[in-house]
Subunit: 209 residues, 2 copies
């Protein structure tokens, strides 16, 4: 095994360090975050930092980078009633989703990258019409991390999903909709169907369901 | 598209709701968290909530469930200098990793589930010898979420990795070590090698590297 210390990481060239540290957690989900300014201008941005925080009520988190540079996503959420959407990225749309990370300034990433903004059921933020799983959330809490990043905590208000991805036990078949896994800053992966294991109990080594 | 509201989710049967909401983010990383009590007793637990929070310094987060029931991982971190390890789970070890979620009470999950506790370079928490990517972290911050969960923020002190997973540009080849992606609470997935896209710029639709 190769041993790399914190001092080694600090000494890495900047891009090498970004590549390396962004890969450390392992696979990450691929979500497009949809928002709108109060004047109706839309914004779309890929995030790999969405995570589950609780089921009752349903709560999801995501991490934003430091606000020392303009962040349309964060500003729109704050200015528009706390509303934002998460939209799962299927693999054939990964290149277009990655493209939303370019600095488009005044043009909406929906238009520039070829996605359709879909406003549903009176919610103030746009969904991505091309996504098989979209979630409408409202900001509940912000947690400032010591390094300038921020954890945004949102409660789930709406879920829209392709019916064929919902299994009878409530689990979601992500492989059925070709959902993408991300590694690092630039890797987009196809994922195969799962092996599933039941609730684990001492003395019973897990067997596939 | 099927539309499910927050009220629908609240009305779901409990296990159905847990399955459903845990699937909403998409794919999650599979990490085993290794800790030790001050008396040397070890603990190992699977977490799917590890995420990147920053690269300089290298910072990772993970989420613990409410501490209303005993949580050996959290208590060990607090009692043992803030030290814990993250260990990437390769797919052939997914069943054994899932098994760590059983309630073993006084027996170490390292022994019960067939993993080898490996203490390295004087660090107070054990690594998993069978893992191709292990990280030693020290707790820096705790953020209490309104629902009783907690975000633990740790700085990276050590990384140990199989040399063949480190690409020349610093990115990690997770597929080369057969790293696992998780869906929901019980789905373990094989992941194929990535398509990679370069830094995105307006006017240049991303092409595979």
């Amino acid at each position: 095994m190769r041993h790399i210390t914190a001092a080694d990481i600090t000494a890495f060239e900047k891009i090498y360090r970004l590549n390396f540290v962004n890969g450390l957690p392992g696979y990450k989900p691929a979500n497009l975050v949809g928002t709108a300014a109060p004047d109706g201008r839309t914004n779309l941005a890929i995030f790999s930092s969405v995570l589950h925080l609780g089921s009752d009520p349903a709560v999801l988190g995501m991490v934003t980078r430091p606000t020392t540079v303009p962040r349309h996503t964060y500003q729109n959420i704050k200015d528009n009633g706390g509303c934002y959407t998460l939209n799962q990225v299927p693999l054939p749309l990964a290149a277009a989703a990655h493209y939303t990370s370019a600095n488009f300034e005044d043009e909406s990433e929906f238009d520039a990258c070829g996605f359709t903004a879909d406003f549903r059921d009176g919610f103030a933020a746009p969904y991505v019409a091309e996504s098989p799983l979209s979630i409408g959330l409202r900001l509940r809490e912000e947690h400032a991390i010591f390094n300038g990043t921020m954890l945004l905590v949102g409660t789930v208000e709406h879920v829209y999903l392709r019916p064929d991805m919902l299994r009878p036990d409530g689990t979601l078949d992500l492989a059925a909709v070709n959902a993408t896994a991300i590694s690092g800053l630039d890797g987009y992966h196809q994922v195969l169907p799962p092996v599933r294991y039941g609730y684990a109990r001492p003395g019973q080594f897990p067997k596939p369901l």
